[in-house]
């Protein structure tokens, strides 16, 4: 069964909120790091609340508000969030103070705001939403797990609206440490660009005449080799009662690291030989919940029936009915998310 996208809010390294045309002038990364284009937060919360919030909380509350406004919903029936790193800024502040103050005279606020569920619960608190509230933190399945939860919840009770999204931030500390792992590009080698972003969607199991895009199905593959992955993709298509040719655009999560990308490209090429292919991580950067950016992009592509030149060079030769996101995270996490025009 499908669930319908009623509203979207996306704060990303690109101009993805407001009325600007879809990814018309892509913002490049600074070196190997992307930074979100943030809105004026005073539109979404009062100054007193803002002062107490870390950057990821502000982005979470603002993108949640954007999605709810877009959907015309005041309070959703539940809130489901995916985040791998959680609230890194506050975690770093509390850790640093704990060490430098030798465990004395610590301010509890960064500790309170360091847990992963702070984002979803802060939104619940501001909206006074007492419904279902869940936070997933399985690295590059965090957002997929949130979507799967929503799919099941809305299958059980379709006439509900859930706010479902994902959030991951880069801090100076996290970037410095991650660079030392050698996973990002630098002057010596090609590699991923560190990314970040927060995106929320309002989803419902009930269709209305205004709806343009639905999320059809999804699948995750942990630690799958090429054989297991190929089998998994075939199974996914057959469960969806579709063939590879039915996919009008394949959005591939290549990240810039040559050997990882080659394997993903070859799997994608053999499974989907004919259809148009597009890419998104040169716009979002690589981060565990980048699939949420891809869902926003896929939904916009279907709504506008245009594929931005920065996403795919070839001209679309047919209506864009179905977009399949084929994501990979350092070869260990693979996922598929299928979006369909209503």
């Amino acid at each position: 069964m499908a669930i319908y996208i009623k509203g979207k809010g996306n704060i990303s390294p690109q101009q993805t909120w407001g009325d600007s045309p879809l990814l018309e002038t892509p913002v490049p990364a600074k070196g190997n790091r992307f930074t979100c284009v943030e809105p004026d937060y005073t539109q979404y919360m009062d100054v007193r609340q803002l002062r107490r919030m870390s950057r990821i909380l502000k982005m979470g509350v603002a993108s949640g508000s954007m999605a709810l406004k877009d959907a015309g919903i005041t309070v959703p029936d539940g809130i489901i969030t995916g985040t791998s790193y959680g609230c890194l800024e506050d975690t770093g502040i509390f850790l640093s103070k704990m060490i430098s103050n030798v465990e004395h005279a610590l301010n509890p606020t960064p500790f309170i705001q360091s847990t992963h569920n702070t984002i979803g619960s802060q939104i619940a608190l501001l909206l006074q939403c007492q419904g279902y509230n869940q936070t997933y933190t399985q690295r590059a399945f965090s957002f997929e797990n949130a979507l799967l939860d929503a799919l099941m919840e809305l299958q059980e009770t379709p006439a509900q609206h859930f706010l479902v999204g994902a959030a991951d931030e880069i801090t100076d500390t996290s970037h410095t440490i991650q660079q030392r792992f050698g996973i990002f590009k630098d002057e010596h080698r090609a590699g991923a660009i560190n990314g970040e972003g927060v995106a929320y969607f309002v989803l419902s199991g009930e269709k209305s005449s205004k709806d343009k895009v639905s999320i059809h199905s999804l699948a995750t593959f942990y630690n799958a080799d090429e054989i297991a992955l190929t089998k998994g993709v075939h199974q996914f298509l057959s469960d969806a009662k579709m063939k590879a040719e039915d996919i009008d655009l394949l959005l591939i999560g290549t990240q810039g690291e040559a050997s990882e990308d080659a394997s993903l490209q070859s799997t994608a090429a053999s499974l989907f030989p004919s259809g148009a292919k597009g890419y998104f991580k040169h716009l979002s950067g690589e981060y565990p919940t980048a699939a949420a950016f891809a869902v926003w992009l896929a939904a916009r592509v279907i709504e506008t029936q245009t594929v931005p030149e920065s996403v795919s060079r070839g001209k679309a030769s047919r209506p864009l009915q179905r977009v399949l996101i084929f994501n990979s995270y350092f070869g260990k996490y693979h996922s598929l998310i299928l979006l369909e025009a209503c």
């Binding site: 791998s84 309170i112 847990t115 619960s121 802060q122 509230n133 997933y136 965090s142 410095t176 565990p288």
Partner: protein, 398 residues
């Protein structure tokens, strides 16, 4: 949405024992696991009591054959998950199997050591000590250890996390997405959480006294616990018996304050009420409630008020087991789920240690001693967390 989700096996490690049988023996002997900090250096050593698992990292690595840099959270998780799978007698590789864990600290016990060197010089600090920081890393290691690659997930809704993990596992089986789910949670003690809770001034310098009028805070604990959830089909094909099944669960948000519960316990009341509605049981059908009962002024009053609203004076046998184990944060829902299943399997209830005087506002008198030979059909377990996350789960006798 059909069929029953059975509990085919349980595994547990906490301050009161390294297995289900050791845990039961500790309850029978009313032996608390609360003591001094021995695992790490801290200015709070000999000041703040904690519930440590009585195995060092080196002991755990030796027993489990795991590399020395593995986070304690992962080690405890692997320890309990192995016991649960073994006890279930299910051939997990034969089925569509998932691992759903819950944790709030993840690899923080190693990250906090990395940070000492890193803060002095950001080119320093051994990367192997920070590579397991993400919560999901501990779940990867548990899944890899068990040989599971079908489905993995991690939940972090603070102290209600592992009830949500068991609920998700149950739903995936009911939706016919999976056949077997190893669900629960794991959290190791860390300086980060110890100092965090201390900064909130909710740690008791004495062994904690949940639901007592004189309570003045919680003791942190650590541990891990998992249940093996299986469908009817698996139970039949594997020719195994399950003493309990998952009968209802609910997740709500108190939406009152980031760390404090509402005075009327609206989130906890809602969670209990919805879990009961799902199971089709009335409050009076519940034979035992394993309370969240952390020992803080706020939690116990709020939870007690919610119980009083639900039951009036006619509440069932109930107790908080945190005076034994300490508050094991993200693992507590899993640990107390295993206690709930033990209550059904052994037909017993566990004492609320160190209780003397009821909280005047609610007057609830919890179970004071270990009692067996009872008729326990339905057990409810509560877990509430920061951010207003409230979850309740009901296990019933098969």
């Amino acid at each position: 949405m059909k069929g029953t989700v059975h509990v085919a096996g349980t595994g547990i490690i906490s301050a009161i024992g390294n297995s289900v049988s050791e845990t039961l023996a500790a309850f029978q002997a009313q032996r608390s696991g609360i003591g001094h900090i021995t695992l790490f250096d801290s200015v709070h050593k000999n000041v703040l009591p904690v519930g440590e698992v009585k195995l060092s990292n080196a002991d755990l690595c030796d027993t489990l054959w795991m590399p020395a840099h593995t986070s304690r959270t992962a080690l405890l998780g692997i320890y309990a998950a192995r016991e649960a799978v073994k006890a279930s007698k299910v051939d997990i590789k034969r089925w569509r199997t998932g691992v759903i864990s819950a944790t709030t600290v993840g690899g923080m016990d190693r990250t906090e050591n990395f940070f000492i060197d890193y803060l002095a010089d950001n080119t320093k600090g051994k990367l192997r000590n920070v590579m397991h920081h993400e919560c999901g890393m501990s779940t990867e290691q548990i899944a890899d250890d068990l040989g599971v690659n079908g489905f993995i997930s991690t939940i972090n809704t603070a102290c209600s996390s592992s009830v949500n993990a068991i609920a998700l596992g149950s739903r995936l089986i009911k939706h016919n997405q999976l056949d077997v789910v190893i669900a629960g949670g794991t959290d190791a003690l860390s300086k980060f959480t110890l100092n965090g809770f201390n900064s909130l001034m909710i740690l008791d310098q004495q062994p904690c006294r949940p639901f007592d009028a004189s309570r003045s805070g919680l003791n942190l604990g650590e541990g891990a616990a998992f249940v093996v959830l299986v469908s009817d089909r698996v139970l039949e094909a594997e020719k195994i018996k399950a003493s309990a099944y998952v009968n209802g669960y609910a997740n709500t948000n108190d939406a009152y304050h980031q760390t404090a519960s509402s005075p009327e316990g609206r989130g906890s009341f809602g969670a209990m009420q919805k879990a009961l509605a799902m199971s089709g049981l009335s409050p009076q059908d519940i034979d035992y409630i394993n309370l969240h009962g952390t020992g803080t002024l706020n939690n116990d009053l709020s939870e007690g008020t919610a119980i009083a609203r639900l039951y009036g004076d006619r509440y069932p046998k109930l107790s908080s087991t945190k005076a034994f184990t300490g508050h094991t944060l993200g693992a507590s829902g899993g640990i107390e789920a295993v206690f709930s299943v033990m209550a059904i399997r052994e037909q017993c209830v566990f004492p609320n240690l160190r209780f003397e005087t009821p909280i005047p506002e609610v007057g609830i008198v919890p179970q004071k001693s270990f009692e067996s030979g009872l008729d326990i059909k339905h057990v409810m377990s509560n877990s509430f967390g920061f951010g207003g996350n409230c979850s309740s789960i009901i296990f019933s006798k098969n």
